[in-house]
Amino acid sequence: MSDKNLNKKSNLKSEGLKETSDTLLKDSWRKLKRNKLALVGMSIVILFIIVAILAPYLTPYDPVEQLIWTEGAAVKLAPPSADHLFGTDLYGRDILTRVIYGARISLQISIAAMSISVLIGIILGTLAGYYGGIIDDIISWIINVLYAFPFLLFVIAIVAFFPPSLILTFSAISLVYWMSIARVVRGQVLSIKEKEFVEAARALGVKDWKIMFKHILPNIIAPVIVQATLGMGSIIMIEASLTYLGFGTQPPTPSWGYMISAGQGYLAQGQWWWGVFPAIAIILTVLGFNLFGDGLRDALDPKSR
């Protein structure tokens, strides 16, 4: 009978926890709404996602079709006009269209890379934090070792020797990005596993995996979301850099990094639109994720009331 009683108690406790997390959510939303920069960031992120999803409906042009073959020199590097709001490139492709489709590629790669990173990061981070000891030593060692490599060089060293593809790009990025998630998760788990409700569950003999799933995981979601949001900016940046150097998304697939590298030679000659518009797209998107991530962090931090 004492067992039953204890169970009841632990149920009560986790219910209490749920309640506080509900008010925490409301509280966080209220704080986020007050933070104007975070709202700007959130709007940019939402706009980016909508544009990426609706790409084909937003523009009458095809991102890869080279119009100079049908319409002639008039559409070769044409400046911004009513027909082509962002102008056209050397092959008569509409730059606005390519920027829009570029958002799509960017979003696909960054979401895929981030999902894998979050998955690996949560698993390894939780294992390291929860079990400690040798498991923690090994995982922390892997993290410290991988951290030592310059991101870009590491990814390039991976992708350069395989046939280029979207899957390769995001896999390689997640292979080096998961550890920033794992670090955050490990730290959180370390502090949460000392809390009374985890100790209580352990004392009751609840299985480890169940404790991790039911008691620990819900408590690390917020910091993971923050880290992932901030990380989206970094990943978009890495993908663009990779592509700029010729190792990422391959032409003719529209991608921002490639457009900058292709357009940069024409920038100084006055045909600025080829390189500048995709650059603005990168800056805005990264800025958006950074602002939104910072806002989320402040809003979800229970310390900053």
């Binding site: 030592a148 310059p150 060089l153 390039i156 990094g257 390189g275 990264v286």
Partner: protein
């Protein structure tokens, strides 16, 4: 203090061993036969076999690994497939350019970043504060190569103040734009971090105590607040080394500078494995050592760690 120094230094060893391991894995799992890649189409089966033997490629993986560790510790990293220079020589010849860039950029980033950050924090909500915030937000979000591009166009092409590309005969003026380009991002990060930690620190009790002593505001900020605020800034400096080295690759590419970054990209394009191994290894070691230095300098800035 001494014990702390020793402990941190020893702590680096497993990381270095791991780094070497990862470099080995990175260059062994690659599809394709290195000997074939090295010889291109011209190699006949006999030569290929000979090369494989010479490089130890016919040995089992663990033997190769042990040999690799030995090679690394004896600084015997082999020769470039392309020009027959040893890897060490190649790195040595490219290092000065990269070191100048990276160190110059870091100095600018720290000096300007910390100063602007303090100014911003002590003038919160003024237009100067907003301006520096906008600068740092954009600095963090802008790709290095785009910043470089814009700088070249403005300062080299339009204004003609400094050369836009190449190294000339190595005069300092050729380094101005690349260093600025590379420094923008770390500087922007340091501005933000300094500002936010300063804002946090000036509300600490000990700052109130310092004011209550009758200290001048300058002494309060620069003596009592700053030393505390610098601790997280130093951490960032260490961690920024890695992204600085990534930035070096991009900066050297846009300015066509003969440094390690370009060397590594060329090596990847040419599948020059010894060089790839060497440069990746070198850069990772630089990061590890930079962070060791940062750890050790904590001891100087934060007595709590010294006596831990």
């Amino acid at each position: 203090m001494f014990a702390y120094f020793i402990r941190r230094t020893l702590g680096v060893i497993p990381v270095i061993l791991g780094v070497i391991l990862v470099v080995f894995i990175l260059t062994t799992i690659v599809p394709g036969d290195p000997a074939r890649i090295m010889m291109g189409q011209r190699g006949d089966p006999e030569t290929l076999k000979l090369i494989r033997k010479e490089m130890g490629l016919d040995e089992p993986t663990h033997v190769q690994l042990v040999k690799f560790y030995k090679d690394v510790f004896t600084l015997n990293l082999g020769r470039s497939y392309r020009n027959n220079m040893t890897v060490i020589e190649s790195i040595k010849s490219r290092l000065p350019v990269t070191a100048t860039l990276a160190i110059g950029a870091m100095i600018i980033a720290v000096v300007l970043g910390v100063s602007i950050g303090i100014y911003s924090a002590t003038h919160q909500y003024t237009w100067q504060d907003y301006l520096s915030m906008i600068f740092s937000l954009l600095g963090i979000a802008s790709p290095v190569y785009f910043v470089g591009l814009i700088m070249v166009i403005i300062f080299a092409r339009k204004l003609g103040w400094v050369p836009g590309t190449g190294l000339g005969n190595g005069e300092w003026i050729y380094y101005v734009l690349p260093i600025l380009t590379l420094g923008v991002r770390p500087m922007a990060l340091i501005v933000r971090l300094t500002r936010s930690t300063m804002l946090e620190v000036v509300h600490q009790d000990y700052v109130k105590t310092a004011r209550a002593k009758g200290l001048k505001e300058k002494a309060v900020i620069y003596k009592h607040a700053l030393k505390n605020a610098l601790i997280p800034v130093i951490t960032i400096i260490g961690l920024q080394t890695a992204s600085l080295l990534s930035g070096v690759m991009l900066t050297e590419t846009i300015y066509s500078l003969p440094g390690l970054g370009r060397l590594s990209i060329q090596a990847v394009t040419n599948r020059d494995f010894p060089i790839i191994r060497g440069v990746v290894l070198f850069m990772a070691l630089v990061f590890v050592l930079a962070n060791l230095l940062v750890d050790l300098s904590y001891g100087f800035f934060d007595p709590r760690i010294r006596y831990e």
